[in-house]
Homo-oligomer: 427 residues x 2
């Protein structure tokens, strides 16, 4: 771990620099698979599923019988855990519902705003060694609360043509309407254009490797919205001497095990705490099955000493972490003052993994500094706001003159005329 | 105008096709100006301001004295109109504030969501023949309500190095913090990277020609968010015999005058109404100063007869218009059933131009079918939602087991360990 004491403000940018990713060199691959899928649909999906996943499939769609079979393979303990998590995520996301906002801005000018669901959404769930069924809860639960009509899920099959049972169990439990065994670039392309078997969607959600990330970015060029730009996961912990060093170390490591490019930072106003955590990390690291991955990420991680809370907070806001854990006595100073963070975990008994799975908050969060301009996935991510207005005769008489002046000044005579005609009819 | 009677469902896509735009051929220009600005900042801005706007500027920043001068040049009538519009936009966008959402999902597991402002936003306002000062109201007013710290505005100068007084007046009135005389691709690049004089921002808002559109799209590659993808403006009116044909015609024309690629559609269950509106459009068109532009857009516009309301509504939802005017007896059928539209105008006395200027709703809206997945600009566009959680000892004991099971099943041992350590400490 790299220790940095009181970095000068002009060095913050360098100190906080994230591991760079270059994606330019895979854009061509992504573009060519997109155009193939656009032109030849399912046949292309079959080709790439055989090539990349080693599975020959007749049908991408997951059958009802496969869902039944999957349920039988998931332990009762895990089923109960998933159900508890689902309940909490549901409770928190249902509370995010907003009422229609209605205002009479001027007598006779009634304006309102309503949120309506995005009709068709697509969820992408990666395959590979760790089946990320928790992400299904984070996406399908709010999609259902929002009232999305079609919730399509794509996930790559194993070489046996099957999908992990926990993924199928979670998808079925959370009301996904259609599940397809297609992964990678070809899955994103399929949901972008639609194929014979996979429907086109209006917005695509979910994580993925760099190919999926670039594919989602390309999808936006074809008119599909995406949840947010992606990047490697990251955690910043701010801790003082009231923190428990072993807890802090365990949180840093739980972030580090995600991948070698995971970013882990500890900020503290206590040099003792930095040393203690460093020691604890060494101890715990050796016990981890993924210690090779975690070790590499930890080698790049930073322990930053800051002289006081005010400067520490500014540094954190400059970074804009995806996850922020606050373990300090004056926790309100940090939770009230944080301007840029995806999700915030407060106190010694709030590990980041609680939010990853079961507290109720969403784990699809802005990384890579995007917390400065994007929020994490929430209920509104599955809806769009629409405005309405109804103006009475009295209303148009009250604001008509102003519209006429402004339209005239912008050189838009027909805009003015639409009002003038109505005003004249009321004379 | 093209009249279409009862189009078959399989033809809807063709009937509703928007004028195509191709942008690929300007991407190279945009990318090269971006890299020039990135490398050489202000010097490059100067070069292109001279080349494209014909103005040699020493300083891009608008001085306090220029604001004073501008105010004196704006008529009292227009000032009052702008003030009324501002008041209404303020009222409607203030009403959109949301409270902190707080829930205890399980005893001891407290989760909440708060919205916090995006610190730095950039507004782009095009120059040219029509000074779009109304867009400043639509963007700067909610930015201020949200609490954005820096609200930067870029707009191209005329060849005399000046900016239209109404633009400066509106920007000053609405609390823009810095105004710069830079336009086009170079303005978007400047706000993306920052230069010696222009600050980098986190999100860019505002309309523009196809160069600006492509530049905003490119900005997202460099980590800047944008309000929404852009396209030519469009209006769909649904009217039955209760509508006033001259009013409907005036609305269609007010959309048509925006540009030759504006899209104008009338849907009706009454053939008589289609004929009447067609006649009225001919009459009114000849009186317009921008009749050449409007005439071309009208030539491409469509009058569509639909047998019944249910099919009409489905067709409208398939199209997803930016602006929807409802002038029908059963207006609730349409306003309740509309799934995809930017902003909806109801009744004979609610012209679209009311929403463009002064009713209080926002006029920055999704075009090009994006109403299916994007809402228009609103207060939330200037904020991001953040989640917080605080878990007590009791709370982690209640949900800890579920987190352990799920982390184990996803193969993330360090995630599990962060909980196990805490649970053990409480034994």
């Amino acid at each position: 771990m790299q220790k940095i004491y009181n970095p000068l403000r002009e060095d913050w940018k360098a100190v906080l620099k994230r591991p760079t990713q270059t994606v330019d060199d895979i854009e061509e691959t992504v573009e060519s698979i997109f155009s193939e899928v656009h032109e030849n649909g399912d046949a292309v999906l079959k080709k790439y599923t055989e090539k990349f996943d080693g599975a020959r499939l007749k049908d991408f769609s997951v059958a009802q019988s496969e869902l039944k079979e999957a349920k039988a393979l998931v332990s009762q303990e895990l089923q109960h855990a998933i159900q508890l998590a689902k309940k909490n995520i549901e409770t928190f996301h249902k509370a995010q519902r907003t009422n229609r906002v209605e205002v009479e801005t001027v007598n006779g000018v009634r304006c309102w705003q309503e949120k309506r669901p995005i009709q068709k959404v697509g969820l992408y769930i990666p395959g590979g060694t760790a089946p990320l069924f928790s992400t299904i809860l984070m996406l399908a639960v709010p999609a259902n609360i929002a009232g999305c009509e079609e919730v399509v899920l794509c996930t790559p099959p194993g070489s046996d043509g099957k999908v992990d049972p926990a993924i199928l169990y979670a998808a079925d439990l959370c009301g996904v309407t259609q599940i397809f065994k297609v992964g990678g670039i070809q899955a994103i392309a399929a949901m972008t254009f639609g194929t014979e078997s996979i429907p086109q969607v209006y917005k695509i959600f979910g994580p993925g490797n760099q190919y999926v990330t670039v594919a989602k970015q390309l999808a936006t060029k074809y008119g599909v919205a995406i949840d947010m730009p992606a990047g490697p996961s990251e955690l910043l912990v701010v801790a003082d001497d009231s923190a428990d060093a072993s807890f802090v170390a365990s949180d840093l490591l739980s972030q580090a095990e995600h991948g070698v490019d995971s970013q882990v930072i500890l900020v503290s106003t206590s040099k003792t705490m930095l040393d203690k955590v460093e020691w604890e990390v060494e101890l715990q690291l050796n016990e981890l099955p993924r210690k090779e991955i975690a070790g590499k990420a930890i080698a790049n991680s930073k322990l930053i000493f800051m002289e006081d809370d005010a400067n520490a907070l500014e540094l954190i806001n400059e970074y804009g972490p995806e996850h922020l854990i606050i373990c300090t006595e004056n926790e309100n100073f940090y939770s009230n003052g944080i301007k840029n963070a995806g999700s915030v975990f407060i106190g010694n008994y709030t590990p980041e993994s609680a939010g990853d799975y079961a507290s109720g908050t969403n784990h699809t969060l802005p990384t890579n500094g995007y917390a400065k301009q994007y929020g994490g996935v929430n209920l509104d991510s599955f809806m769009k706001s629409m405005t309405f207005q109804k103006i009475s005769k009295e209303g148009i008489q009250k604001i008509g003159g102003a519209i006429e002046s402004m339209a005239e000044a912008e050189g838009l005579q027909a805009h003015k005329n639409a009002v003038t005609l109505r005003l004249k009819s009321l004379e």
